[in-house]
């Protein structure tokens, strides 16, 4: 067994040193009735090449995004990740290190986290960011809880433009609690919260670009919220949009949460991804998750440590700000490396290129005359209304090798008003040929 370093002789020698005859003796505390009394329906060990063949056979049964024209977004985006990123994150010292609890021999991870926090703060326009959350959706739910702690109020309004699965996650996290109100889907990008904010309101949650692709100006909402002592939580699912769009911090956000997958991380069928959470300085002690801070060693040399851990479960237990422990360290590293490679110049170019590809897509779709583009504004994603329900069309196009986008009905089933809607994304990888194939496919299906 290739992963087990003991030979039979080693094991015998060790039992000898322990002074026991068999390993079974070491399991003496286990009730006899449950020890080795079963025959699992599971295979025995296999050579590496057999395992590889098994896994490859499974992988082959999936249509990979790179196999044909691809327009799916809706919270997870297909971008080109430089080869350097994946190479670096596989270095043993990144991949197989634990959480950096011994700072003297973990400065690599710690300095990286400090850099990551700075990048996230600057990108979102906020004062401070944490060392990552599981993903954008759980970060959103945590932000809601955080806002309730800060304001000591209960009421939370969730915009109809929030990604439906993010909304569902918030609902689950708050299940049983009072005060949460989720507004109905707003595929036209219409405002729906402004008038509801009152002095009982803890927070309002709004996504931009929203689930349907509309770019939402949150500054008026920020003002309205702040006037009533409520907090504005801004959600970003396509982090690359911030290379072209105004920072939520500059528009008045109090907490910004985001999905960081687009930078550095492959699609991988939904995870692992990396949640970003940033806020104003004054809220830092209510943040969930790990924080890395700068300090010095006994010789005065600069170094980094995990800090403010009195917020966290391992110190505060039931009084912690969250129960999160393991986060998305390696995905944060991938994010940080990709963003370091891009820099301001690269990110801005990348964002513009994404937008340009989406413009090409929007214009091509509008040009078919068969679908209606709902967006007046968008970054790299948009919603169209088909003359028929979207789901079967998407299925038919998939059979032609074209992955055409997400039918809204998949995430909002049983709602007649969204049944014909389709959300499509374009990125730097979307070619003119891809768009032409989509148009041809749509023309065919909608003929």
């Amino acid at each position: 067994m290739r992963y087990l370093p003991h030979s039979a002789a080693d094991r015998a020698h060790m039992l000898d040193a322990i002074g026991t005859a068999s390993v079974d003796d070491l399991f003496a505390a286990v009730p006899k009735s449950v020890l080795g009394t079963f025959v699992p329906d599971l295979p025995d060990y296999q050579p590496e090449f057999a395992v590889e063949a098994h896994m490859r056979a499974l992988a082959r049964r999936n249509h990979a995004a790179g196999d044909g024209p691809f327009f799916i977004g809706a919270g997870a985006y297909r971008h080109h990740v430089p080869a350097t990123v994946d190479h670096l994150i596989q270095r043993s010292e990144w991949l197989t290190a634990y959480t950096p609890y011994q700072p003297e021999i973990s400065q690599g991870t710690l300095q990286m986290l400090f850099e990551f926090q700075t990048q996230v703060a600057n990108l979102t326009g906020m004062d401070v960011a944490n060392a990552s959350m599981y993903d954008g959706s759980t970060a959103t739910a945590e932000a809601v809880l955080m806002a309730r702690r800060i304001t000591r109020r209960n009421k939370v309004f969730v915009s109809g433009g929030l990604h439906p699965q993010y909304r569902d996650t918030v609902v689950t996290y708050l299940s049983g609690e009072e005060g949460l109100e989720c507004l109905s889907p707003s595929p036209e990008g219409q405002g729906d919260i402004m008038d509801r904010i009152d002095t009982d309101t803890a927070a309002i949650v709004i996504q931009t670009p929203d689930f349907y692709g509309h770019i939402r100006d949150v500054s008026a909402l920020a003002e309205a919220a702040h006037a009533k002592g409520a907090l504005l939580i801004v959600v970003v699912t396509e982090i690359i949009s911030l290379g072209l769009l105004e920072a939520p911090g500059a528009l008045g956000a109090d907490i910004v949460v985001a999905e960081g997958q687009s930078l550095g991380n492959p699609l991988t069928f939904g995870g692992p991804y990396v949640g970003l959470l940033a806020c104003r300085e004054k809220f830092v002690r209510q943040m969930p998750g790990r924080l890395c801070g700068e300090t010095v060693d006994t010789e005065g040399e600069r170094g980094f440590v995990l800090t403010l851990s009195t917020r966290e479960q391992h110190i505060r237990r039931e009084k912690a700000t969250s129960n999160i422990c393991t986060n998305s360290g390696l995905c944060a590293l991938a994010f940080s490396i990709h963003l370091s490679l891009l820099g301001e110049k690269g990110l801005s170019r990348l964002a513009r290129l994404n937008h340009a590809r989406a413009i090409a897509l929007a214009d091509a779709l509008a040009g078919t005359g068969k679908v209606e583009v709902l967006n007046r504004s968008f970054f790299n994603e948009l919603t169209v209304r088909l003359p028929v329900p979207a789901a079967p069309v998407v299925e038919a196009l998939a059979a032609r090798g074209i992955l055409a986008g997400v039918p809204v009905s998949r995430l909002e089933p049983g709602r007649g008003d969204v049944e014909n809607l389709l959300v499509l994304a374009a990125t730097e990888l979307t070619t003119d040929a891809d768009i032409a194939a989509l148009v041809e496919g749509l023309n065919g299906e909608l003929a």
Partner: protein
Amino acid sequence: MTMNRQGRPTSPSDAQMAVSGKAALLPAEPLLFEIGDRDHSGVDLPDIDVPDDRLGGLRRKSPLDLPGLTEPEAMRHYVRLSRRNYSIDAGMYPLGSCTMKHNPRLNEKMARLPGFADVHPLQPVSTVQGALEAMEQLGHWLMELTNTAAVSLSPKAGAHGELCGMMAIKAAHEARGEGHRKIVLVPESAHGTNPATAAFLGYSVRSIDANEHGTVDVEAVKAALSDDVAAIMLTNPNTCGLFEPQIIEIAEAVHEAGAYFYCDGANFNAIMGVVRPGDLGIDAMHINLHKTFSTPHGGGGPGAGPVVLSEALAPFAPVPFLRRDGQTIELVEHAEGGSFGRLTAFHGQMGMYVRALTYMLSHGVDGLAQAARDAVLNANYLKARLEDLFSAPYNGQPVMHEVLFDDTFLKGTGVTTLDFAKAMIDEGLHPMTMYFPLVVSGAMLIEPTESESLQTLDAFVATMRELAEDATNGNVERFTAAPVNAPLRRLDETRAARQPRLKWTAPEAGRAAAQ
């Protein structure tokens, strides 16, 4: 000499820090912000312009303040930084409760197959049958190994799994009209995530004391049970490295009182393939794929924390879940029946599922059982070789996958557990888990895992014994001054917490902020 906007130093004296350092192969490394600037980029892209008219008037005006690195600069930055880390690949990492085992590279290779890595979670399910089947197979392994009725794969880590299991328990109580149960019993030795999770869901936490052997008496549980108790959260094997001998009786008592049994399965490595938690009477248990099933820790994550559920809790499992219909697998994405809802967008940590399944297939069920047995053998070997010099609070019984010492043996030496740990660093070792569990003074929790060879264990023993002897012989300074061989000496954690500096600011701005 010029100094650009990002504070990129180009004068020789500033820049020298880039190459000088304590050792020829471990130089200090400046921050990214001290290397890159806004003119540099390691990604070539066309510089196209886009019109404003579809940006909703929201084109970015505020600065991005993101330095760029060209590719060679980035490579060097991240390679040099990484060299300042310890890692399992480079040495034994005996962190108790963390199961720092070997991370096979086949796992990494398989996770990167385009058929897994380049697949979108919202593709039509007809195009992802292989991915769903991989998830189904993983679930089958987990249910078989635990003898449970259902599994929810989507939790993103152990703590998220706790949330999942406890939410199912909450939902089950509510479905039975027992929503009033507001207490969760948690032994003192529990990991911090247990009480934090219970509190997260509005439960109040009642602590259960351990007996003098470090385990929980069924009588203590019975005494704490009542109509208000929703659940017990018990770790097994527990965080003292011991199998709870009365666990079956405890489960029975809990069930009798109308409560559920949440088992923290972080230590499943000790018993996988050997004992099935379902046979012990548990109702829910998370499994840290990033501990037991070898997915890498990555400096803090990502992990995955699937939860297995008993018949009683299965109806309350969250979405999404799989449903097989002959040759095809469906993905149920919307709550039906009792499901308590959705824990995250999409379907969980596919990248980790692929790694864990690859690991399971490689080991086979025979190999997993052997791994568990070797993990236990290793821990007991360390115990046998160290217990004369170190102090084991709950001695006289075999341990499972980890061995717990306290700081009694250091009493009067002037050396603390922390000092001892830092001296280990100087010897090229990563320290064990310290000061956890909280039930003993100055805990030293050592988990070798099955991945360590006899040779490595012997070297570890030799170093530990030499250190213990030196500490008791009064060589205090070696410990209090340690580490001296690491890239940095001890760091000032108080200062970090008192004057938090959580992001980099340009030197000028920094000076202003400090005033």
